[in-house]
């Protein structure tokens, strides 16, 4: 039964089919099951979920606590299920779910500005004026598109100033943005009922044909019609249900937490089940120049339930083996606590959690200096190395060179995979 809440009941799938006949993608309309969740082993493609911590979380109040030291502040640490791994005590739920995940405590970057740092951390390339680099998610679907999806393949949820972009690979690889996940995916519903929508599409056809006259080839190149067709396909696709969390049991929704981020993580799990491979969920608000400790508590209350529920759910559904989860922000924060009880930007020596998708689990890489005097951590890990690791794990040749618009050959990543994780 067709009962999506997003779709106007007045405009049904069958109506659309009628109009879509002859359009380039109509052959895809008959529903065949693509759900990743129903596939097993190599048949199932791997997905990547990036939990993006916008603003730069403090490593000391997350995955690299130094309790009882001058730099550690008032925070405490707790043990996790991973032997030898302690994290901040603000994450009790996560501590129980980290089995199989790894922590890198020695990420190093050279970008201490939010914008530049974000671009570097999302793409694996330091930003430069003449090239817009593609984000990890865009590279994945460029190299390994899932053509049977009727919904976007690259999705960014939650509010962010710098969503993942397609960069020089093309605007069509920009992440599809869902500002308010679990509630509204925006612009999916036709403004009028089905008979009028049909009339509108017929009208459009007449006007488009007139324009095509004498410009057949040029108009085809614009992809205007195929973009509209794909949008219409999406509007009527049953795969849109992946965005709906009303059908999830109350207990599940509650476990993820009633925040945009919590809902986003739940939708992310549903999208992975559907077969979406590149997902970003944003949690901003980590820029703690003042009141670092209370600020991190507020953030932890959103991150802890959502992140832990996501891992728990993925494991329970046997999806973690095929899903890489990466939790990272643009940089860390200074060991020094400033007079406003805050911490400032610190691109040298920050932490991330990564795992799943067949990566080696329960690994702890590097450490920062507990006195805070030594700037560089041990075993420093470059951003690009992390991306090379992920791409290699997805069986994407990260060394493959593409030609950028200015004719420069660029590798998908110029890093080297981190041996400890593969």
């Amino acid at each position: 039964m067709f009962d999506s809440t997003y779709l106007s009941s007045k405009f049904s799938r069958r109506d659309l089919c009628k109009v879509a006949v002859g359009s380039t993608l109509s052959f895809m309309l008959p529903g065949f099951d693509l759900k990743a969740a129903q596939k097993r082993g190599p048949e199932r493609q791997k997905s990547v979920i990036v939990l993006w911590m916008g603003g730069g979380p403090s490593q000391l109040e997350t995955w690299d606590p130094h309790p009882g030291t001058a730099i550690g502040g008032p925070g405490n640490a707790i043990k996790t299920v991973v032997p030898g791994l302690q994290i901040s005590d603000m994450y009790p739920l996560l501590a129980e779910q980290l089995e199989g995940m790894s922590v890198i405590r020695s990420m190093v970057s050279k970008e201490g500005d939010h914008e530049r740092g974000t671009k570097y951390l999302k793409t694996g390339y330091r930003p430069e004026p003449t090239t817009v680099y593609p984000a990890l998610g865009a590279i994945i679907i460029h190299e390994r598109p899932n053509k049977s999806l009727e919904i976007p393949q690259h999705i960014s949820m939650g509010n962010t100033q710098y969503p993942a972009r397609g960069g020089y690979l093309g605007g069509y690889l920009d992440a599809f943005r869902v500002q308010d996940p679990g509630k509204n995916i925006g612009n999916m519903r036709a403004g009028v009922g089905s008979p009028r929508q049909n009339r509108r599409l017929e009208n459009l056809d007449i006007v488009s044909q007139a324009f095509q006259k004498g410009r057949t080839i040029q108009t085809k190149k614009t992809l205007h019609q195929s973009t509209i067709d794909r949008a219409l396909t999406m509007m009527s696709s049953e795969q849109l249900h992946a965005f709906e969390i009303e059908k999830e049991p109350d207990s599940v929704r509650k476990a993820y937490g009633d925040s945009s981020f919590g809902r986003g993580c739940l939708v992310a799990r549903r999208l992975v089940e559907q077969g979406v491979h590149s997902i970003e969920v944003n949690l901003s608000g980590w820029d703690s120049h003042a009141n670092n400790f209370t600020g991190h508590q507020t953030q932890a209350k959103m991150l802890d339930p959502a992140f832990s529920s996501l891992l728990k759910d993925l494991k329970a559904r046997d999806l973690l083996d095929s899903t890489i989860v990466l939790c990272i922000g643009e940089f860390g924060r200074t060991p020094k606590i400033n007079p406003l009880e805050g911490r400032d930007h610190w691109p040298t020596g920050f932490s991330c959690i990564v795992g799943g998708g067949g990566l080696k689990g329960n690994v702890i890489i590097g450490e920062t200096d507990p006195t805070g005097k030594e700037k560089k951590p041990t075993e420093p890990v470059q951003i690009q190395d992390l991306y090379a690791t992920i791409l290699q794990n997805l069986k994407i040749d990260y060394k493959k060179e593409l030609i950028s618009p200015i004719g420069r050959p660029l590798a998908l990543s110029d890093g080297t995979p981190i041996e400890k994780l593969i």
Partner: protein
Amino acid sequence: MKPSSHNWKIACIPFCVVGLVVSLVAWASSSPVAISPKAPALTVDNSMTSTVEQVDQFFEKQWAKQQTTPADISDDYLLLRRLSLALHGTIPSLEELREFEAMQGADRIQRWTQKLLEDRRFADYFSERFTRAYVGVEQGQFIIFRRDRFKAWLSEQIQANTPYDELVRTLISAEGLWTGDPETNFITSASADGNLDRNKLTGSTVRAFLGQRIDCAQCHDHPFDHWKQSDFEGLTAFYGQVEIQVLGVRQNEELKYEVEDRETLKKRTVSPQVPFLNECLPEEGTLREKLATWVTHPQNRRFERAAANRFWGLVFGVPYFDPVDDLPAPTDLSESDPDVLDILGQDFRENGYDIKRMIQTIVASKPFRLSSTSQTDDNEQIERATDAWALFPLVRLRPEQIIGSMLQASSLKTIDQNSNLFMRGRRFFSELDFVREYGDLGSDELNDFPGTIPQALLRMNGEFARDNGSASMLNSVGRVSQLDISDKKRVETCFLVCLTRLPTNLERDHFLKQYQSATNPKQREKITEDLFWALYNSPEFSWNH
């Protein structure tokens, strides 16, 4: 008595507030300029006509050599659409179309161009485009970078027709506070994290004003160009004495420009030097003044060619050489014929670097007037014709142009600085929202990417599309439905308002049939809404052609 008189005073407060608001709105919505400029008498001189002829001859020679037949000349309506989109970022209003129709004379397109160039909308629109080229689209660090002020300053310069070389010199050498002297934001835009990134300044100076990309040379010798790392460092040294202080952008003669050697990690001082045309570097002035003079020196042909290429790109949507800031080195004109950029550049230089004149020359030239339809369906021929500018290119409109056009199409009257505050406010906020949701191409705006699904969804189902496309007393959809005109005229009006053209016979018949089946005004309204919806979503609406 007393309490009641008190109450009376309280009761007055809302009225006072209403009165205040009304008078404020009345004040704000009064026209900031007296009247919209009327089409001026033409001031095209012979030298400009001769430059246009030279440009045309260049192309005709090329077409003859390649055996390419140029497309037909477009009709005036289409030229009007192209001109408005290029110079104001919107389509022309019905009001403007009618005004144009009333004009007489063979030179009316030229006179119309002049009118558009004098209109404030030109300066405002072009200042945004220039701002993108000079400092990018990012808002940057608010405390020391004010993009809005910078843009407003540029708009003033364009409106006053400040010579382009003077404008560029000011940008490179300006001093002062970014708020009071907004031109200094060119310098402060390169500031990140409390540090001034001088390398970024060099990169953007050379890209924006000389049409060359030497950014790669920042770290190594350019792989396939002749730029050396020492060229980059030498140029950057000209920015070595600029610093950002509490009092703004200042020269500090004490500063030495040092770089860290990548091999030895030792610091070494770099002295300012230019990679070519050393003789154009003046003796006098601060380092930045010297650099500014060198960049804009009449003998530095890269400067005028870069400007010509950028203006060409802004007018056509595609630069003559693509990408816009990666031009080939100028050829020796004693050995080879000048190309289009040389012709336009020379005219620019000899006529006081007059921005408006250069634009008038470009739009008067033949390539701008050619149709985008061709007789052939042969891909190769079409590509060849497009490459040779024998066919007007199909270019995707920028988000601002699309929203600007949707807003304009929803009003029969021209939306400009003379519109009331409500209209202008609506335009301002709709534009912000729409552009944010539509996704901005950023500084790569002249690159050619196809539209995206979210954009199609936004145009079809977005809140703005819904509001704009629903008939009301105030918008064109409602007005056209209610006007006491024949249905034929009604269909024609819709097409003129949205696409700046009359419908084809097939289109006219299709929509006439719909109107004829309407039995009451409400139905007519719905038919008009559906017609507008189709026009808004047609490729013709969102592509320049």
